[in-house]
């Protein structure tokens, strides 16, 4: 399964990446699995760890940790929004 992951705002700056393309192991089924997988890279990636205030979207729609991740999805991680 190949997906595109985008990072925004303070998370983008912390991680040093705005986007990446990933090939995922079969064990990753949900958004929550993906987030844990990324946090396990350690170092700055712990910003995605459990308890951190991070929001996510799948294919440009807000999504919770139980949402399934599918091949070619566009996933985004970002801090709580502050527009308006």
């Amino acid at each position: 399964m190949s997906i595109k992951v985008l990072y925004f705002a303070s998370l983008r700056e912390t991680l040093g990446y705005s986007h990446e393309t990933l090939t995922l192991p079969a064990s990753i089924a949900t958004l929550g699995d993906l987030r844990s997988h990324l946090a396990r890279r350690g170092g700055v990636w712990e910003a995605l760890g459990e308890g951190r205030n991070v929001r996510a979207a799948i294919n440009q729609e807000m999504a919770g940790p139980d949402k399934a991740v599918a091949d070619r999805d566009e996933i985004a991680f970002f801090p709580p929004v502050t527009g308006g």
């Binding site: 985008l6 303070s10 801090p79 929004v81 527009g83 308006g84």
Partner: protein, 157 residues
Amino acid sequence: MRVSVQEADFDVGAETEALAAGRADVGAVASFVGYVRADKLAGESAAEQAVSAMTLEHYPGMTEKSLEAIVAEAESRWSLLGVRVIHRFGRLVPGDRIVFVGVAGSHRGEAFAACEFIMDYLKTRAPFWKKEDTPEGGRWVDAREADDAAAEKWGQA
């Protein structure tokens, strides 16, 4: 066009007028304009410790879709005759306009309510992030619990 996400400024008068132009059924247009405010930094004593500029980042594609969804939600709750939402991104300084929401209806009740609803939902659901320039460097603005509470008062979508 109901939703625009743009770097350019907008003309409040022209946008407001356009909501009622050439129509005999519009009885009310309510509008909201948000501006960049020169906030003092919390806990700082010196008068010059104020925000000098901010940069608004967004998620191209998702931002437009989320604003469209918020407008559609407002239209499902009230009988509206027109809606216009404009949100800017990029570098802005105090006094600059950030956001415009205009709603046309038959009467003021639905126009006022839908305008406030759209702003409250936009604050918590549209992917924009503010970074302030301060004398100590850039600082990302934290989300406010008061904004979540304002959105929640409308009940679940």
